[in-house]
C-alpha cells in the first residue's frame, strides 16, 4: 500500500486538494490555507466592524462530487466507431442516434479521422469542417477551448460555431446600447463594491438573482459569507423572482413574484412612482443621461396611453400594487444596491423574450437613484472583493496556448507575454474571422439542414457596441457548406433551445461525418460516427486561478475571497484509454503533418511552464517551487487605492477602475461611458442609427419601452399552453458538468428523483396547479408544448405561484423514448421545450426562460411526432 499524497487541482466550482493513493483519487476537499506560509487575507472596516474572509476556499456541489465523474461507468473508455458506419462504403447516416458502437484502437480512430479531414479539405476546403466546443467544459487555462482547442483547430482549419452570450443575453443585446460595457457584453464593472455595500448600503434588491442557489458561477460559495455580513449589519434584502429562490429563502425580508416575462412591468411602475413623486436623483439624471425626458413621457403613458402605474403593473405581473409602491418608496429613501442578476448583470430574466427590456429597466432604475454614488449601484454581492488587480495572471478565456486574438481575450495582454515570435508562436485564425466563415451555435441545425442562414453578430461581440449589429450569411460568400461536424465537450441538447432540432440535424444526409470528442457517453455523443475518449483535468497537467475565466468578465477572480493560483496536477493516469485533449490533438496533428507546429515539441506540462513564466507568478517563486507547493495565495495589497465601480462616472472624473474599457478611442479625455454620448442613453444612438438604416426591430426599439414578452402570459400560445416555465441555470450542476454520468449528484433530492430505476429531472409547481391536474409530489409528469415532450418528476409546493412552473436547464442526459428528436425525452432536456426564436429580429440571442407549457400526469406514452 502506498502513501496518501495530497495533490492540487481545480475546477469550475473551485480549487481543491486531491488525496491520491496507489494511483487512485480517494478524496477531494476545499483548500485550507496554511497561515505559516500563505499570505494574510484582506480586511474591510465598515460601520465599526472589521470583516475578513475565512482562511479556506469553498466548492460547488459538482466539484464536491467530482470523483464520481472521474470514476463513472459512463466514461468513454476507448475509441469507438458506430457499428454500421463504413467511411469507405455505407455510412448509414439515417441510423445516427440509434446504432451501437464497436471498440477500435487509437491508431485506427485517428487514421479514419485524418483520412476524412484530408478528403473533405481537398474536396471543399477546410471550412467544410465545423468544430464546436461546449461552454465551460473542463477547467484549466492551458486545456480550455480558447487555448488547446483553438490552437489545433486554427491550424487544421474549420468553421467555428460561435457561442451566443447565453448568460448575458438581455444585457448584451439591450443594455449595451444604453451604457456600453461591450467588453463585458453589456454587464457592469463591480470593483470594490463589497466595501461600498458594507459601508453605505441600507437595502439590496435582488432581481432575478440567486447567488446562493445558482449565482456563484466559478466562485464556489465564496460570496455567502459576505451576504451574512450584510444581513448582520441590518441591510434589508428584497427578492424579485418568479421562483422563491434559495437566497430569498435564506436571507430575504420579502419576496415579490412577477409572472414570467413581466419584470419590466415592475421596473416601469417603480420608475413611474419615482417620477410622479419626484423621488429620483434629478441632478444626476440631468447630467448623466440623454433621452430621459422622452422616456419619462413613455413611463407616464403620454406616447402610448398607458401610464405605468403600480396598479397597471399589478395587472400585468400579478404583484400587488401596494407592494410595488412600498418597494419604490423605500428604495427612494434608502441607499440601495440593485443586485440585478447573479453576477452584477446576468440573471434568468435576461435570457427571456423580455430580456432586453429587463436589462434596460434595471439600468434605468439604478440610473434614477444615482448609480455610482456611495451605496447605490448595480451590485450582486458576488464579485467586488478587494483583491489586488495589479498582480497579472490571466483567466482561461485569455487564449492560453492559442494566442487567438480574434476569438479569445488573448489580445488584451497575454498573447504578447506568452509568445516571443522567435521560438514559440501563436495560432491565429483566418477562417474563423468576421470576413471568413462562421455560424451561430444556436442555429447549427438550420445551417446543416437548410444550407442557408442569415443573422447578426459574430458570437460574443465585445470589440465595439455596433459589432453585434453586423449582418452575416451562411455559407459565407465563396465558402462551402459544412460536411463534417467535430463536437467537443458537453452536450447541446440540454443547453441550447428547442433542442429536438439538434437531434434531427444529425441524420441529415449533408452531414457526411460526425466526430465526438467527449469524456462521457451522454447527451448527443451517441449520434457520432467516431468517438474519441477524452479525460478530465484531473488526469492531465494544467494551471489556473480560482474563479477566473476572465475574457468577457474581466477580473472575475473577484468572485472569490482570495486570489488562489492552482497548479492542476495530473493526479492520476487517464482512465481507460482516454487521453487529454492536448494529446488527442497532438496525435492527429502528427498524422496531418502539422505536429511540430502544433506542439513545438512540447508536452502539456511544458506549455504549463511556459504559461507560468508569462504571468506575474515568477515574481514570487520559480515554477518548480510552485509545482511542489501546488497553489499560491496572492498577497493582499492594503495600500491599494479603492476604486468603487462607476464612482468615476457619477463624479464625472477620469475612470480610475482597472476595467478593460472604455477604450481610449471611445472616451473623451478619459471620461464617459462607451456610448457615443458618453452618457446613459435612454434613447440609444447606436440603435437610432440602426433604425435609420432600415433595421426596424419590433422587440428592440432604440428607446427602452414597455413591450409585452413575445412568449409569456399575454401571448397567443398561452391559451393552449397556460403554464409559464422558468428554467434558469442549474443549482447543483454546471452546464452539463456533474449531472447524469451516474454521479453522486443523481442522489441529491432536489436534483433528480429515482422512479422505477430511472433518475428523473424535476419540475416544481404550485399545489393549486398540481391539484387541478391530479398531480402529487413525486408523480411522473409530461411537460409539453408544440416543440416536444419531456417526462420529469413533479415537486409540489409553494415556491412558485399558480400558473408558473420551475425547473432547471442544462441536463447532461438525453433519453428519447422513441425516435431521437421526434419523441418524448426522459433525460430531462427541458430545453426541448424552449423557443428557438431569437430575442428580436436582429438581436440574435436565446430566450429559454420564456416557454409556455402544459403539464399532465405521464401515461407511459412515448409521444412520437412527425
Amino acid at each position: 500500500m502506498g502513501e496518501v499524497v495530497r495533490m492540487t487541482n481545480s475546477s469550475t466550482g473551485g480549487p481543491v486538494f486531491v488525496y491520491v493513493k496507489d494511483g487512485k483519487i480517494i478524496r477531494m476537499t476545499p483548500m485550507d490555507f496554511d497561515d505559516s506560509v500563505d499570505a494574510p487575507s484582506w480586511k474591510i472596516e465598515a460601520r465599526g466592524k472589521t470583516f475578513t474572509p475565512p482562511r479556506k476556499t469553498t466548492v460547488m456541489p459538482f466539484t464536491a462530487g467530482f470523483k464520481s465523474m472521474i470514476y463513472s461507468d459512463r466514461r468513454n473508455m476507448y475509441p469507438m466507431i458506430r457499428e454500421d458506419f463504413d467511411p469507405n462504403g455505407e455510412r448509414n447516416i439515417q441510423n445516427r442516434g440509434r446504432s451501437g458502437y464497436r471498440r477500435i484502437s487509437w491508431d485506427e480512430a485517428t487514421d479514419i479521422l485524418v483520412s476524412e479531414i484530408n478528403r473533405i479539405k481537398r474536396s471543399d476546403g477546410p471550412a467544410a469542417i465545423c468544430a464546436e466546443p461546449s461552454s465551460h467544459h473542463m477547467w484549466g487555462n492551458v486545456g480550455y477551448r480558447h487555448s488547446t482547442f483553438f490552437r489545433f483547430m486554427n491550424m487544421m482549419g474549420f468553421t467555428y460555431a460561435d457561442h451566443n452570450p447565453d448568460s448575458w443575453e438581455g444585457w448584451h443585446w439591450g443594455g449595451m446600447h444604453m451604457w456600453g460595457f461591450s467588453w463585458r457584453l453589456g454587464n457592469p464593472e463591480q470593483y470594490d463594491l463589497l466595501e461600498d455595500t458594507l459601508k453605505h448600503s441600507e437595502m439590496i434588491v435582488f432581481w432575478s438573482s440567486d447567488p446562493d442557489g445558482t449565482g456563484n458561477f466559478y466562485g464556489g460559495y465564496e460570496s455567502s459569507i459576505r451576504r451574512k455580513w450584510m444581513k448582520d449589519l441590518g441591510i434589508k434584502m428584497v427578492f424579485i423572482d418568479p421562483y422563491y429562490n434559495h437566497t430569498a429563502n435564506l436571507l430575504g425580508d420579502k419576496w415579490l413574484s412577477p409572472k414570467i416575462g413581466t419584470d419590466h412591468a415592475l421596473s416601469f411602475a417603480i420608475a413611474y412612482t419615482w417620477l410622479t413623486e419626484g423621488t429620483y436623483d434629478k441632478e444626476y439624471v440631468a447630467t448623466h443621461t440623454i433621452g430621459f425626458d422622452e422616456w419619462a413621457d413613455h413611463v407616464l403613458g403620454k406616447d402610448d396611453g398607458i401610464p405605468k402605474t403600480c396598479e397597471w403593473a399589478e395587472g400585468e405581473s400579478g404583484v400587488p400594487a401596494c407592494e410595488i409602491r412600498a418597494l419604490a418608496r423605500e428604495w427612494a429613501k434608502r441607499k440601495t444596491m440593485l443586485a440585478a442578476g447573479g453576477l452584477g448583470g446576468w440573471g434568468g430574466a435576461c435570457r427571456a423574450s423580455h430580456g432586453i427590456e429587463f436589462a434596460r429597466g434595471m439600468i434605468a432604475l439604478a440610473t434614477m437613484q444615482g448609480m455610482g454614488k456611495p451605496g447605490s449601484n448595480i451590485y450582486s454581492t458576488t464579485q467586488g472583493a478587494p483583491l489586488d488587480p495589479d498582480f497579472y495572471f490571466p483567466g482561461y478565456a485569455e487564449g492560453g496556448i492559442s494566442g487567438d486574438c480574434e476569438n479569445s481575450a488573448a489580445g488584451f495582454k497575454f498573447a504578447w507575454r506568452m509568445f516571443d515570435g522567435k521560438t514559440t508562436f501563436p495560432s491565429p485564425s483566418n477562417i474563423n474571422t468576421s470576413a471568413g466563415q462562421h455560424i451561430p451555435r444556436l442555429k447549427i441545425p438550420e445551417c446543416i439542414m437548410d444550407g442557408h442562414f442569415e443573422w447578426h453578430g459574430k458570437g460574443f461581440c465585445g470589440g465595439d457596441i455596433q459589432h453585434q449589429l453586423h449582418p452575416y450569411t451562411y455559407p459565407a460568400p465563396g465558402y462551402p457548406r459544412i460536411k463534417m461536424y467535430w463536437k467537443y465537450g458537453g452536450p447541446h441538447i440540454g443547453t441550447m433551445t428547442a433542442t429536438n432540432r439538434y437531434a434531427r440535424m444529425y441524420t441529415h444526409p449533408s452531414l457526411e461525418f460526425v466526430v465526438s470528442q467527449s469524456i462521457w457517453f451522454e447527451g448527443e455523443v451517441p449520434f457520432a460516427d467516431l468517438i474519441l475518449p477524452a479525460c478530465t483535468n484531473f488526469e492531465r497537467w494544467d494551471i489556473s486561478e480560482f474563479g477566473s475565466c476572465s475574457g468577457y468578465i474581466p477580473d472575475t477572480y473577484q468572485l472569490a475571497n482570495h486570489r488562489v493560483i492552482s497548479f492542476q496536477m495530473k493526479c492520476i493516469e487517464p482512465v481507460g484509454e482516454s487521453k487529454s485533449d492536448y494529446d488527442i490533438y497532438a496525435m492527429v496533428a502528427e498524422k496531418l503533418g502539422i505536429g511540430p507546429q502544433f506542439t513545438e515539441g512540447k508536452t502539456d506540462l511544458d506549455w504549463v511552464r511556459q504559461y507560468y513564466n508569462a504571468t506575474d507568478m515568477p515574481k514570487y517563486m520559480t515554477f518548480d517551487e510552485f509545482a511542489k507547493k501546488g497553489y499560491f495565495v496572492v498577497p493582499d495589497n492594503p495600500d491599494r487605492k479603492k476604486t468603487p465601480a462607476l464612482r468615476w462616472f457619477a463624479e464625472d472624473r477620469v475612470r480610475d477602475t482597472p476595467d478593460w474599457g472604455p477604450r481610449l478611442n471611445n472616451s473623451v479625455g478619459g471620461k464617459g461611458l462607451q456610448t457615443p454620448s458618453g452618457k446613459i442613453e435612454f434613447v440609444s444612438k447606436t440603435l437610432t442609427n440602426f433604425e435609420q438604416q432600415g433595421y426596424i426591430d419590433e422587440y428592440r426599439p432604440a428607446m427602452h419601452r414597455w413591450i409585452p414578452a413575445w412568449e409569456g402570459p399575454r401571448c397567443e400560445l398561452a391559451k393552449k399552453y397556460p403554464l409559464g416555465m422558468l428554467s434558469p441555470h442549474p443549482r447543483f450542476s454546471f452546464h452539463t458538468m456533474g449531472d447524469g454520468k451516474d454521479t453522486f449528484m443523481n442522489d441529491i433530492k432536489d436534483h433528480r428523483v429515482l422512479v422505477d430505476g430511472h433518475y428523473y429531472w424535476i419540475i416544481r409547481m404550485n399545489h393549486v396547479d398540481a391539484a387541478a391536474r391530479g398531480i402529487k409530489e413525486g408523480d411522473l409528469v409530461r411537460v409539453f408544448n408544440d416543440r416536444g415532450s419531456v417526462v420529469v418528476a413533479a415537486q409540489v409546493g409553494e415556491r412558485v405561484q399558480p400558473g408558473t412552473v420551475h425547473t432547471y436547464e442544462s441536463c447532461a442526459e438525453y433519453a428519447p423514448l422513441g425516435t431521437p428528436g421526434r419523441s418524448a425525452d426522459r433525460g430531462g432536456c427541458m430545453n426541448i421545450l424552449t423557443p428557438d426564436r431569437y430575442m428580436s429580429k436582429y438581436a440574435c440571442g436565446m430566450a429559454p426562460n420564456s416557454a409556455q407549457v402544459q403539464v399532465e400526469k405521464w401515461d407511459g406514452g412515448i409521444y412520437e411526432t412527425e
Binding site: 469553498t58 456541489p61 470523483k67 470514476y71 420579502k254 401596494c322 412600498a326 418597494l327 415556491r799
Partner: protein
Amino acid sequence: MKQWYKVIDVALCHDCNDCFMADKDEFVGNDWPGYTAAQPRHGHRWVDIRRHERGTYARNDAAYLPVPCQHCQNAPCEEAGKGAVYRRPDGIVMIDLEKAKGRKDLVDSCPYGAIWWNEEADLPQKCIFCAHLLDDPSWKPHTTRCAHICPNELMKTYFVEPEEMEKMIAEEGLEAYLPELGTRPTTLYKNLYRYTKNFISAGVLVDGDCFEGATVTLHSKEGGIACTPSGAGVANCQDTSVLATRTTNFFGDFKFDGLNDGQYRLEVDAGGRKYSTEVTVKGESVNLGFIKL
C-alpha cells in the same frame, strides 16, 4: 472525558448538498478498515437533508434539516445491536463490522432513519462521524468532511467536556431533534423551530397601502388580560397574555415564528386603526394574506 458533538444551524442551511456530496466522496469507493465498509454508490443518505415547506404562496418558506446519525447517548441501535453497535469513549457510535454482519434489523432500530442497509457488504451502515479521519493525526482539518466543506459554516463539530457542551446548549439555545424519543443525541440543532414549528404572517394595509410601523401583538387565547389597551396602543399595555410583539416593516409585513399548535389572538394597531382576530395553528403555518384597514 471529552466528547464529540455536532451542531447544525437550521436557519443557515439552504440545501446546497456540499455535505451530502463530501460524505459520498469520503465513503463511496473507499473502505476504511476497522471503521466502515465502502458506501454503495447510490441510495444511502448518511447525511439525509430533509425539506419542510411552510406557509402558502407568497408568505412561505422552506427549512432544510441535515440528519446524520445523531450519535445518541442512549442509542436505540446500541440496545438493539446487543454488542453489534458500540459507543466509543469519545461518544462516536460505531457499528461493529464483524458482529453486525447480516443484521438488517438494525436499520429499523433507528428512530431517525439514519441507518442504511448495504446489500453487498451484508452490513448496516451509517455516518461514523469521520472517526477514521479524527483518529488520523495527518488529517489537518480535524473535523468531519461535512463540517469541513459546509460553505455557510452552519455545521460544526466540537470535542469538549460534556459540561462545556451543556453551557453552549444553554447559551445558544441548542436542541435535540425529536427529544421525546429520549435518545439524548450528541447532534444538536440551532433554530430547529424552522423545521419543527410554525408561523403566522400577514401584511397590514391602510387605505390600500402597505403600513409600516403597525404594532402587532400575539396573545395566547387562554391567557388572562390584565389590562385593556387604550389609545396609547398595546406597546404600553401590561397584558400578561402577550406572547410577542412585532412592528410591521415597510411592506406592512409581520411574522410570528416558532409557534406551537394552539389557538392565538392577534391584535393589530396601525396608527390607531385596529383589528383583532383569532388564529388557530394546527400543524401548518398560517398565511393571513393582507389585513386591510
